[in-house]
Symmetry: D2
Subunit: 401 residues, 4 copies
């Protein structure tokens, strides 16, 4: 039980922090401006992004995720955690390092369950950052936290599967570079509860894949990646596109979501840390009623409570990562559920306090706070709402006696 | 001490509710669509708005605010409260009934402190709903909750005043119909703390009034009204445009903000009530893990707590209104501060729970929840942040012993 | 909808407050000392109590509860509320005015459901303050919030009923003057869910009534009244002792608990108000780090939030009382449930903050705070835990759609 | 950064847990009963305590605290933490293992600052568990969180010091075995802010040491140790009794309180863990409305949130201990302040939920919950109130920019 990071991790932390300071933060504004200056916010990727990616690749800060794989940097979850946190500090950073959702989760699925042809065709360009992907699970018409509610149909027809259904919150599907979708649907509604679902690869340009609209989050469109509502209408793909096998969809989802969830939490802690820094700086600068805001007791209380909450969430996330590394994602289920509940709520608390300290500026575009808030608010819903994760924790605890 | 509304109020409640059901709610979507179909979201007002306003005027549901004035409907604050609440249920409703901020507050200022020429030129068309106005107090560079921080300068020069400064969060200034600004600035920085400031009328088209940008709120532009950042550069207006007199700016602000704050609170309660209804309906419809969400204990807890919080905030708001009517805004200062703290936080709690029950739909455009959240979040900052109001309450309590 | 108290109520408030100042507060310490000086804390009632009761009776401040009855003062619930609140400020006051639990609730039961002989024998001396009573519903072995769990048996045997079972939290049963128990048990376990239970009068001195122990609340024995665990072993009473009739126990409990709950809430608000006053006074007196505690932002925040919470809880309680008066306890069910949840939690918040401001003194006997906290903590459990009341509120709301 | 305990610690955890199960828990009731059966609760120590101490000593589970000293078990803070947590599960356990407050802190002071004669006379029997001690810092008349407020006087007079003043919350001073007091007072009120205070050894039987009363915590007397209010009236001790030197009182307090605070936090986590276990067990046993309480969503939520909060507080405490071991108590100041704020509030949350799940039983003597609550509530005040520690955290954070 010690709390230090290894020299390897410390060295990567330092290099990553330098890169953020020198390359990423200074380009946040340029990225936004280039996006706004395009014909539409969806038509292309701001050029500065590809420039930054190139630099990150050259610096060896690329694909740092992917534990237990020869494709990544060979880092354990515990080693990756503090690095992922640093990336979470900027809304553009994860993509710069090719560590952004949902691509990381999708790459993990392809590494584990993809056939060689899939890896060649989709995993390789994803690892190179040439294309992007989306994950189509949630449906608009049902409570999708209960996988048995899923209505999308994946029907075998000769050498093909035919897909019909409607998905939404397919994040990244608005990106012009998005080429491949992983779609969850039911191959056998009469099978056992968790063997009805399958996952299948659907190229974005397959006939019948119709993007209906891009969903806003609060007032943000999250362009150019976005969150798509997609109709699948008699979409046909080769039978070999099924992942692992029929009925394995739920199992893949469980495996995929563990790392995906903890990555979200790590990034969320980074976002909270940045909001915290902004709050402290602002508190030192602004003056009201004869003293700086930072000299007022209630602001100091906000600062203290924020530091306490961040630190606790970070430690719990590190412990969950450690358990994933040592006893596996399955045994670490409770810890993953715990950080899934803790990290987003913690960050929302911290960001909300930071907004309050910033006054009107806090809800505007002049600081990243409101945008962070909106994005992280969705994490209390995505990959299972808080309520479902608390339920899992309670179930495991009640089983102990 | 009784809790019934008078027959007059009950009759107005019923008529207003009918009007909301028949005219307002059904047109919410049309309003949005018309706005999006315009050349820009700022270029014009969706035609459906003027149609609705005409109907409201015909129905006698017009200018229901304005207590103690022969311009309004002759309603007391306590009588107006439940009506204002109903209007707060829809983001387009207040304007339909000509009861929207900041125009109501500005009209009150004109009624009380405007000269006859001002009333003729600005108050009359405002009361008719022909033009709109903005209120320019908050500044980007200083903590504006402390009025002594204000930097805008209003300098006498012969028969004119010359205004220099920068304001932001001037809500409504993006509206093409916005014709008049009430601007707060310092006429005498060397005067006593609360006699340095003055308020002055500045026609929107005065040379030197430059709208720099419209500020987003959590990604929403709030078009076509918006929140403007405005530069005042050597802006000259006749000396008679000063309101009440030099050094009266703080006093006017105090008088203006009392009713303005309580109107915000009333509308906020209406918004919370609507979010609550959406939550309960959704809870009855969605099914997860074999039962409706509304059968799950934690959702029921969310419903119960929301009802409790709404009801308490409503009663406190009514009491504050009653005190404003009976002992005056000044004596009711503590109660106004209390609801200013209570109502927005209560509504944010309720809306946040409603979002959670709606899943991804809750943060999207399919329900008004995320938009409500963003708008109401600003009310914890506007007209004085929570911290300042709590401070006022504490000061008054500590004085008692 | 107005918020003033009638002149009659205002006059009673004034007289009651005077009486508290002149008689009750000054004797709190004497009461405690006399209790400690007795042979045991259970052997007798401190003489000062009877002296104060005599004065209260002479002052006409006696039996102010009991709406709709010619036994009481003819006050409605709304009229009684602010008076009951004043009594709640001192732990000894309710008894002084013969308005203490559980006697008020028991007297209401006797007024409504007692036979003439019962009224003569038990109600009359209770109204005179000569004897005391207890209410035996909760059982140690089951979750008693679910009335169908009740295990005590009331079996008809000729002209008698035979009672067997075990009860606890029979408050007041330790009082040497306690002469009569109202006992709830099952006469017919096979009847419909809410018709299995009956209530019956059991004189304290009936053979087979064995007080096993007095239960402490957070270390306090609440002597001389106390909370008893009582064994009923083949206890025989005349068949006429049944109240209303067999199978009416649940209905009586519902009727009894409405007023009982709101009285608790009113007193709780009074207790919170007193804790608040102590907090504010202390904040003005104590100095730390160069200023009074009351000049520190976080303490001011505690004061402001406490005032806000008290005021809201009070208004909701008044509204519930008004509804009980105008539409009846049954229709007011939701409002009663709401205040049952709100008032104790509000008071615990306020008292906890007051304790914090008092430092170590706050948890000691030097201030009433810790004792208040302990007593009010039980109100989140007594007469149905918070969870059950939230459940009722949610059920009623979900029914609306 | 790993999260495992060393084999040595794991072995001690196992042995300690066995000892708790076999010796401590089974004797909790006997301890209470023996205490009640004595002439007074203060007259003697329940014999079962000495029996348990003897067994613990024989088992080598003795004086496990005291890092960096040849008197203790040679455990680091990080190693001691999980063991101290186990002891915190039972209110009698810390004394059984000679690891109870305030003796551990006092022994540390004697090890570091005591002269040889002091060690021989006081430290040795303390380490043997033959005598007990108290720490006299807090005063009734001033806010003692500000050390400059201290009024007790330590005046040099020839070869002696003369002490005058009044202290309270001198825990353990009621114990008949308490032989030595460490008293803080001012030797030089005109010195620099933190050099006015000194600490001095005062044998309990010195003339002029008058125990005025034992303070209750909520309604608990905490006999036989208790919390004393002590008057020091012209108390004379040899000049050599001064610890370290004049003006060193504040420095010693700072050094003493670091370990003392973290020990409290560790024990508090153990108490919370036990309350949690009781809650989960109860939730599985009790049935209401047709299902166990543990099947109800709100109880499951309480369980999940409790597990989350406990785990986070534990990790933060471990990190603080690790920092104390590696960078020293001074650099770990922020982390110590953080756990001082976190652990008690966390435990109060957990215990309060456990009380709620237990119904009336929860506030009674049948479970340790109410007693735990009362004791831990004092930890939000003792050794500096939450507010002071939050202030320290904020100050350190604001310094970073």
């Amino acid at each position: 039980m010690n709390f230090d990071f290894s020299p390897k991790v410390q060295e990567l932390q330092a290099r990553l922090t330098d890169f953020m300071n020198e390359v990423v933060y200074p380009n946040e504004k340029a990225y936004k401006e280039q996006l706004d200056q395009q014909e539409t916010r969806w038509s292309d990727i701001p050029p500065v992004m590809e420039e930054m990616k190139k630099k990150a690749k050259e610096a060896g800060l690329w694909n740092l995720f992917l534990p237990e794989s020869d494709h990544g940097a060979g880092l354990s979850n515990l080693e990756y955690a503090p690095l992922c946190e640093i990336m979470g500090r900027s809304f553009i950073a994860p993509e710069v390092f090719n560590c952004n959702a949902p691509d990381t989760g999708n790459m993990e699925v392809l590494v584990r369950y993809g056939k060689e042809e899939h890896k060649e065709k989709w995993l390789k360009p994803l690892l190179e950052g040439e294309i992007r992907s989306a994950f189509c699970m949630t449906e608009p018409d049902v409570a999708s936290s209960d996988a048995t509610n899923i209505q999308a149909e994946i029907r075998r027809d000769g050498d093909e599967y035919v897909i019909n259904g409607r998905k939404w919150w397919s994040s990244g599907a608005g990106d012009p570079r998005c080429k491949i979708l992983i779609v969850m649907g039911k191959t056998d509604p009469s099978a056992a509860r968790h063997e009805q679902q399958s996952m299948i690869l659907v190229p974005m340009d397959t006939p019948g894949v119709n993007v209906l609209r891009m969903l806003p989050v609060f007032g943000y469109d999250d362009a150019p990646h976005g969150h798509a509502e997609i109709e699948f209408k008699d979409v046909r793909v080769p039978a070999s596109n099924i992942l692992w096998g029929e009925g394995k969809g739920f199992a893949i989802a469980q495996g995929r979501l563990g790392p995906g969830r903890i990555h979200h939490c790590m990034r969320t802690i980074g976002a909270a840390e940045r909001a915290f820094e902004l709050m402290v700086k602002r508190a030192k600068e602004r003056v009201a009623f004869g003293k700086t805001i930072g000299e007022q007791g209630v602001v100091r209380e906000a600062i203290a409570n924020s530091r306490i909450e961040i630190e606790q969430a970070r430690l719990l996330t590190l412990k969950a990562a450690y358990m994933m590394d040592t006893v596996g994602n399955k045994v670490a289920k409770k810890e993953i559920a715990m950080i899934k509940v803790v990290a987003p709520q913690m960050a929302l608390n911290v960001i909300d306090r930071a907004i309050q300290v910033h006054g009107g500026a806090g809800v505007s575009e002049d600081f990243p706070l409101a945008y962070q808030y909106a994005g992280i608010r969705t994490l209390r819903l995505a990959d299972g709402p808080d309520e479902v994760h608390r339920e899992s924790i309670a179930k495991l605890e009640l089983r102990n006696y």
